[in-house]
Amino acid sequence: MKSLEAVKVEVAKLEDLPFQTGRVVKLNGREIAVFRLSSGEVRAVENRCPHKGGPLAEGIVSGNYVFCPMHDWKINLADGKVQAPDDGCVITYEVDVKEGKVYISM
C-alpha cells in the first residue's frame, strides 16, 4: 500500500533534452539526472554514482545505459542497477511524457 500519493513535477520540455545526453534538475533537495534516450524515451535517476558519487548526467549514454564519467561504471537507466563486474544501484524515478512535457514522479 502506498500511503502517499506520488507527486508529479514538470521538469522540462522534451525539446530541452538533447538525445543521448543527461541534464540535471534539483527537486526537494535531490539532484536528478534526466536523459532522453535515442529511442525517444526519457529516464530519470539520482545524479550520483554509487561508486564515488560521479555525476551520472555527464556520462556517455548508450541505449538504456549510462557510463559514469568518473570510473566508467555501467548503469541501467531502467532499473538503476549497476552492471557486472561492479555492483550497486541508484534510485530511479518514474517519468511521464505528455504533450511534449516531461514529468517526474516523486
Partner: protein, 806 residues
C-alpha cells in the same frame, strides 16, 4: 569436352555445401545449375537469429556471394521455384518457365515451417521464422509495434524471442508444455533456462494452448483455450518444421515423412538424390546443419564416383545461440532406468552438467551455464569412449580455469578430433592450414577451412588451436584486437571499412559493421568519433554525445564533480593585463584554487558547471584544451632571448608551434616542449614531441612521457631551420593521428611500431608534404569551442540545470 549436367534444387545450406564438396573433389566434371526460390545467394540460415539479435547484418551472413557462383561456372536461378520434374526425360521446370536438363539431380528443398492452423492465422503480422524475409518482417514490425508473442518455447522460438527483445519489443513466449526446449533439456536445465531468460526480460506463458488469433486485418492478440487473452501486434510461430517434399511426391519419388534416401543419399529414382532437411534417412529427418553436412560429404563422393563409407546417421547436438546463456544438449538427455549419470549442479554459480552413461559409454549430455566441455563430451560419444578410462572429476572442473584447461585439452586432442562440428573440420585440418598457409587469426582459419563458419560455437576452440600452434608467435595474432567488446573488428579493419564504404556517422559505422551493442559503449563511441573526424575532417560533424565529459564540456571534471578551466597561453607566455583578467574572474566566481600547471599554464580549479560559459566569456581567452585528447601545451624555456646558455629562440618556436597546431585532436593527449639548448629546461626529453635547440639547428625527440609509463623520447631527426621543425612536427603528428589506436599515447605507439619504421616513413619529403597537407585540412575547420559555446545560446543551455517549471 563433355561435362555431365548437375542440377541442384534448393539454394540452401545443405545443397550448396554438397556442391562445394563436389567442386573440391572434381572441379571439372560437371556443368552445374542451381535453383532457389529465395532471391538471395546462399546464406547462413543459422545466423538469422544473430541478425535479429543485432549481432550480424544480413550482408554478413552470405556464405557464397554472386561472384562465387560465377567463378565456379555455376548457373544460378534465384527467385525460381522448381515445380515439375520429368524423371524420364531428365528435365526440371520452374514456375518462371525455365527448363533445364540434368544427368544428376539433387533435391535439397529444406523444410517448411509448421504453421498452426488456428483461426486467424492468415492475418497480417503472423509469420514464421525461417528465412531472410521473415527476419526483415520482424525488424520492420519492431519499428512500428511494441508487443510480440512467440508461439513455441523451443530453440527457434527462444532465439526469435531474444532477437525481438533486442529490437526493443515486449515479448511473451507461449509454450504448451511446462518445460522449455523439452526436446533437448531435462526439467532441471529447462527451469534454469527459464529463470535466466526471465531475468533478461522474456515473459513466459507456460502450458497454454492457443485457440484463436484475434484482430481485423492485422493481429491484435491471441486467445487461449482457457479463455485468457494476450495482446500482440506480431505473432511468430515457431512450433516446428516439416520436410518440404511436395515436389518429390508429385513427381513419383518415394516419400515418407521426408524424401526417402539410402545410405548414399539416393532416392527411389535413379540419378536423383536428396540431402538436407528434406531427406529421410533410416527413418530420421534432421533439422540441424551438422548432419546435413555429413550427408553432403557422402553424397559428393557418390556423385563424383569416389570410394566412400556409407552415411549411417548422425549424433545430434544443439547449442542455444542466446547471449548470456550457455546451453548445450547432445544425444539422450532424460534419465532412464538403464542409464547412470555424472552430475554437477551448482545453483550458486548457475551451472548444471549432466552426462548420461549406458554400458559405461557416454550416450548424451546436458550442459547449462558452462559449455566448455561440450566438444570433449561429443568426442567421447562419437568414439564410444569407456568412461571407466577417464577421470570423471574432469567434468567437475572449475569453469574459471576453463581457459587454461581448455588450452591443455586442445593440446591433448588428436588430429582426427573434430573442432567445428557444423562443418566437420578436424584439429589436424586446422593445424595443417595454420602451418602451411601461415594463418594467424581465427578469421583466416574460418576463410580457409570453414571452421566456425556456421554457428560460431567453436570459435574459442579454434582460437585455442591457433594459440597452441603459434605459441610465442601468437602475439602477432593477438595484435588483431577488436577495438572494444562491441565488435570483433580491429582498428585497421574499422578504418578500412569506414573509408571503403564511406561511412560518416558513428551510428552508421555501428549499424553497417554489425556492432553487437546498438549504441556501442564508452570505449568505442569516442574512438569512432575520433576516427571519423580524422578521416573526414571537413565532412564529419563532431558528435558531442560520443565525447567523454571533459571534451563535451570543454573543461576537466574533478573528483567532486566541479570543473577546472585552463585558458590557452601560447608558449607559456602571458601579459600583465591577461593576468589581471584571470585574477578578476577568479575572484568574481570565487574560484577555490588558482594553480600553475605542469605545462606552464594557469588552472582555475573548482568551478561549477553552470559558471563555465560565464567564466570563459569574461576571460576572453582561447580554450587551453587541458582536458582533451588533443595538443595540450607547448612548454618552453626562456631560450636565447634571455638565457646565457641559450642557442635558439625556444619561446618563439614554442609559440609558433602552439599557434599552428592548437585544437587538433590526437588519439591521446599530446604534450610538447621546446628547449633552447641541451640543458633542456623545458623537459623536452619526456614529451610526445620535444624540440631541443643545438648550435646551428634543432633536434626533435618523440615518444617521451613523464607519466606512469616514464619514457625518454627517441631522437627522430636533426634539422637546420624553424620551417623544418614545423614540417617534421606536422608530419609526425598526422602520422600518429592516422595510425595509433585511439587512447594510445605516443610512448606506447612508438614502441609498438618501432622508431625505425616511423623514421623510414617520415624521411621521404613527399610523404611529409602529404601528411602536412592533410593536417592542414584538419586544422582549417577547427574553431575555438569556448567562443562558440559562449555565442550559442542553445549549447549554453546544456550547462545549466533544468529549471523546475511547475
Amino acid at each position: 569436352m563433355n561435362l555431365r549436367k548437375l542440377v541442384l534444387v534448393g539454394n540452401g545450406m545443405a545443397g550448396v555445401r554438397c556442391i562445394e564438396e563436389i567442386l573440391k573433389l572434381a572441379p571439372n566434371r560437371f556443368e552445374i545449375a542451381i535453383f532457389g526460390s529465395e532471391p538471395h545467394p546462399n546464406y547462413n540460415r543459422i545466423l538469422l537469429s544473430s541478425v535479429l539479435a543485432g549481432d550480424a547484418d544480413i550482408r554478413d551472413i552470405v556464405l557464397n556471394d554472386w561472384n562465387w557462383y560465377e567463378q565456379n561456372g555455376i548457373k544460378l536461378h534465384t527467385g525460381q521455384t522448381v515445380t515439375k520434374i520429368d524423371t524420364e526425360k531428365h528435365l526440371v521446370y520452374t514456375d518462371g518457365g525455365i527448363v533445364e536438363s540434368y544427368d544428376d539431380l539433387i533435391l535439397a528443398t529444406g523444410s517448411l515451417p509448421f504453421m498452426l492452423s488456428l483461426p486467424g492465422a492468415d492475418k497480417e503480422g503472423v509469420i514464421a521464422f525461417r528465412d531472410i524475409k521473415d527476419c526483415e518482417t520482424m525488424i520492420e514490425a519492431s519499428r512500428k509495434y511494441k508487443k510480440a508473442i512467440v508461439i513455441g518455447g523451443g530453440l527457434l522460438g527462444l532465439e526469435a524471442a531474444r532477437g525481438l527483445l533486442n529490437l526493443s519489443m515486449e515479448v511473451s513466449v507461449v509454450h504448451i508444455f511446462d518445460n522449455l526446449m523439452e526436446r533437448q533439456l531435462d526439467p532441471v536445465a529447462s527451469k534454469m533456462l527459464q529463470r535466466e531468460l526471465e531475468a533478461q526480460g522474456m515473459r513466459f506463458l507456460m502450458e497454454k494452448h492457443s485457440e484463436e488469433i484475434l484482430g481485423d486485418r492485422r493481429v491484435t492478440g491471441l486467445r487461449f483455450k482457457d479463455g485468457t487473452v494476450e495482446e500482440a501486434d506480431l505473432i511468430i510461430m515457431a512450433v516446428g518444421i516439416k520436410p518440404n517434399v511436395a515436389l518429390a511426391k508429385e513427381n513419383g519419388i518415394e516419400v515418407n515423412r521426408g524424401i526417402v534416401v539410402n545410405d548414399f543419399l539416393e532416392t527411389s529414382v535413379p540419378n536423383v538424390y536428396a540431402v538436407g532437411e528434406c531427406a529421410e534417412h533410416r527413418g530420421m529427418v534432421y533439422g540441424l546443419v551438422a548432419p546435413l553436412f555429413e550427408q553432403g560429404q557422402v553424397l559428393a563422393k557418390r556423385i563424383c564416383k569416389r570410394e566412400t563409407d556409407p552415411y549411417e546417421g548422425s549424433i545430434v547436438y544443439t547449442k542455444l545461440k542466446v547471449s548470456g546463456v550457455d546451453v548445450f544438449s547432445a544425444g539422450e538427455f532424460m534419465d532412464s532406468p538403464d542409464t547412470r549419470a555424472i552430475r554437477v549442479h551448482d545453483e550458486f554459480a548457475g551451472i548444471y552438467k549432466k552426462i548420461l552413461v549406458r554400458d559405461n559409454k557416454v550416450v548424451g549430455a546436458v550442459l547449462f551455464g558452462d559449455t566448455s566441455d561440450s566438444t570433449r563430451i561429443l568426442q567421447m560419444m562419437k568414439n564410444e569412449t569407456n568412461v571407466m578410462e577417464i577421470k570423471r572429476v574432469s567434468v567437475l572442473e572449475n569453469p574459471d580455469s576453463a581457459g587454461v584447461s581448455g588450452m591443455a585439452a586442445v593440446a591433448a586432442m588428436s588430429d582426427e578430433e573434430i573442432i567445428c562440428g557444423c562443418n566437420g573440420v578436424s584439429k589436424g585440418t586446422i593445424v595443417q592450414a595454420i602451418q602451411e598457409k601461415g594463418l594467424c587469426s581465427v578469421e583466416d582459419i574460418k576463410g580457409c577451412t570453414g571452421a566456425s563458419r556456421s554457428c560460431g560455437g567453436c570459435k574459442q576452440l579454434v582460437a585455442q588451436v591457433l594459440e597452441s600452434v603459434l605459441g610465442d608467435k601468437a602475439q602477432i595474432a593477438a595484435q588483431k584486437e577488436p577495438i572494444c567488446s562491441c565488435t570483433s573488428l580491429s582498428r585497421e579493419e574499422v578504418l578500412a571499412e569506414i573509408k571503403e564504404k564511406h561511412l560518416t556517422t558513428v551510428k552508421e559505422v555501428m549499424y553497417v559493421l554489425g556492432w553487437n551493442q546498438e549504441e556501442g559503449c564508452s570505449k568505442c563511441r569516442p574512438a569512432l568519433n575520433y576516427y571519423l573526424n580524422m578521416l573526414w575532417p571537413e565532412e564529419h560533424e563532431d558528435e558531442r554525445a560520443s565525447r567523454f565529459v571533459n571534451e563535451r564540456l570543454h573543461a576537466n571534471i574533478q573528483k567532486d564533480g566541479t570543473y577546472s578551466v585552463v585558458p590557452r597561453m601560447y608558449g607559456g607566455v602571458t601579459s600583465p593585463s591577461e593576468l589581471k583578467r584571470i585574477a578578476e574572474v577568479a575572484e568574481k566566481y570565487q574560484v577555490p584554487m588558482v594553480k600553475v600547471t605542469g605545462g606552464q599554464r594557469i588552472d582555475l580549479l573548482g568551478v561549477k558547471k553552470e559558471d563555465l560559459p560565464k567564466i570563459w566569456a569574461e576571460l576572453d581567452m582561447p580554450s587551453g584544451f587541458a582536458y582533451g585528447k588533443a595538443l595540450r601545451t607547448v612548454k618552453t624555456c626562456v631560450g636565447s632571448d634571455f638565457c646565457r646558455f641559450g642557442t635558439q629562440n625556444s619561446i618563439q618556436m614554442g609559440i609558433d608551434i602552439e599557434k599552428k597546431f592548437e585544437r587538433i585532436n590526437t588519439p591521446a593527449k599530446f604534450k610538447m616542449a621546446v628547449s633552447g639548448c641541451p640543458r633542456n629546461c623545458a623537459e623536452s626529453g619526456i614529451k610526445d614531441l620535444g624540440v631541443v635547440g643545438i648550435d646551428g639547428g634543432w633536434e626533435i625527440y618523440v615518444g617521451g612521457n613523464g607519466g606512469v609509463h616514464l619514457r625518454a623520447g627517441d631522437l627522430l631527426c636533426k634539422v637546420k631551420t624553424e620551417e623544418e621543425v614545423m614540417e617534421w612536427t606536422g608530419a609526425f603528428m598526422q602520422y600518429y593521428r592516422e595510425n595509433a589506436n585511439y587512447g594510445e599515447r605516443t610512448s606506447y605507439w612508438v614502441e609498438r611500431v618501432g622508431l625505425a619504421n616511423i623514421q623510414k616513413v617520415l624521411e621521404d619529403p613527399e610523404t611529409r608534404r602529404q601528411l602536412n597537407e592533410r593536417i592542414d585540412v584538419a586544422l582549417s575547420v577547427l574553431k575555438d569551442p569556448w567562443k562558440e559555446i559562449v555565442q550559442n545560446e542553445e549549447v549554453r543551455a546544456v550547462y545549466e540545470e533544468l529549471p523546475v517549471l511547475a
